[in-house]
Subunit: 202 residues, 2 copies
DNA sequence: CATAAGTGTCTACCAAGTAGACACTCAATG
DNA sequence: CATTGAGTGTCTACTTGGTAGACACTTATG
């Protein structure tokens, strides 16, 4: 396979990345709706014509930014995986840690959830993506064949995890990735035990 | 004045900025000495040839990064200024706040002081620049014509301020710019009073 | 000693990025 | 209501920044 195409588009991708980066910063600065195409190209130090080579308008840039980050999140998880810890504690091992480290690596983007007039669709599609990852990429195992509505359980677990993520981001990543993942493990262990011994008391 | 030159070099400046940005991130990741030219261009998504168009080697890139940031710091202060608060509390008003906000805006760069194997010259030339700003851009006034060795006093004030800045950066900017500047004001007020009423007890 | 990885230089090529003009919409302003 | 200004989207022709790839060289590693 020749790498002519990949390296040729390296230049294009680079430009797109810089435009996206500029959009992130400008949303934080003045809110999504106030951002103009001119603002974006000025901030990223490109010509206005260049913008239209890559995107028809601001909406498409925003869409590309959102999709690329959420797809990156999905891709970061890796292949289907059987949790090392047995049972319903699927939140905790390598795949979940991949999610955490991806978010931290791209915290500049995910901080956008702290803003009101922010990237359209972010507040709905970010949690949806977490759920999708749980549904498609995680394999849940039951212990002792305890019957459970697996669809509900995945939702429950996914949104629980999302809540913790959201809080972590909102607080400005005050604890490290490692500390955060350990907090999640502790919480889920508690959940596991209460589920195991007392039954689903919710 | 035509802007042909400025806009033509916009492209060049943009590339240089991205290379510098890549260097910052790579120093944090693996230390200055371990960073190669190849690492830099890969990280910034440029061709290796492109690097040599702009810089003869890694050292020159590092030098350009350091100089541009420290010159930017100097330039951020603005023109000579007589402190609004009277006397030896020259640390506190608009010019000092400019320094603080410049550092915060470029915190990505200034965080490099937290690393051991970091940008050559940073640890010595950063405080020197603060001092230079105090010497060249601040006008100190005495109250009631109290005699004082002005050169010593500027050093004392500049390095005191630098110590606070250093701590603020090292702690990961835990307090906001506004909180930080107010802490500095409080500290300097104390200093002013003790100086004024008790004399230089140090 | 050999293999691998990085350096610095050079050449030829081309497409990404640029300047600038156009007609258009939409708000704000007197 | 007419006017001014700012932003949008499109298009054309140009140029230069960035690319590929080869070269000889230096270090480091096993």
């Amino acid at each position: 396979m020749n790498n002519e195409q990949t390296t040729t588009s390296q230049r294009q991708n680079r430009t797109k990345i810089h435009l996206k980066q500029a959009l992130i910063e400008l949303i934080k600065e003045k809110g999504y709706h106030a951002v103009t195409v001119k603002n974006i190209v000025d901030h990223a130090a490109y010509n206005r014509s260049t913008f239209y080579i890559h995107y028809p308008d601001k909406i498409e840039l925003a869409e590309d930014l959102l999709v690329s980050m959420l797809q990156g999140l999905e891709a970061s998880v890796g292949k289907p995986h059987v949790p090392g810890h047995k049972v319903y504690t699927a939140t905790l091992n390598a795949p979940s840690f991949n999610i955490v480290s991806y978010i931290y690596k791209n915290r500049n983007f995910f901080e956008l959830i702290n803003y009101d007039d922010t990237l359209p669709g972010l507040h709905t599609r970010f949690p949806q993506t977490i759920l999708k990852i749980y549904q498609e990429q995680f394999i849940f195992e039951t212990i002792n064949n305890i019957p459970v509505n697996m669809d509900y359980f995945k939702r429950y677990t996914a949104y629980g995890f999302y809540g913790l993520l959201h809080n972590w981001i909102q607080d400005g990543f005050k604890v490290t990735q490692e500390e955060f993942i350990h907090e999640v493990i502790d919480l889920t262990k508690t959940h596991m035990y209460s589920f195991k011994y007392i039954g689903d008391h919710q």
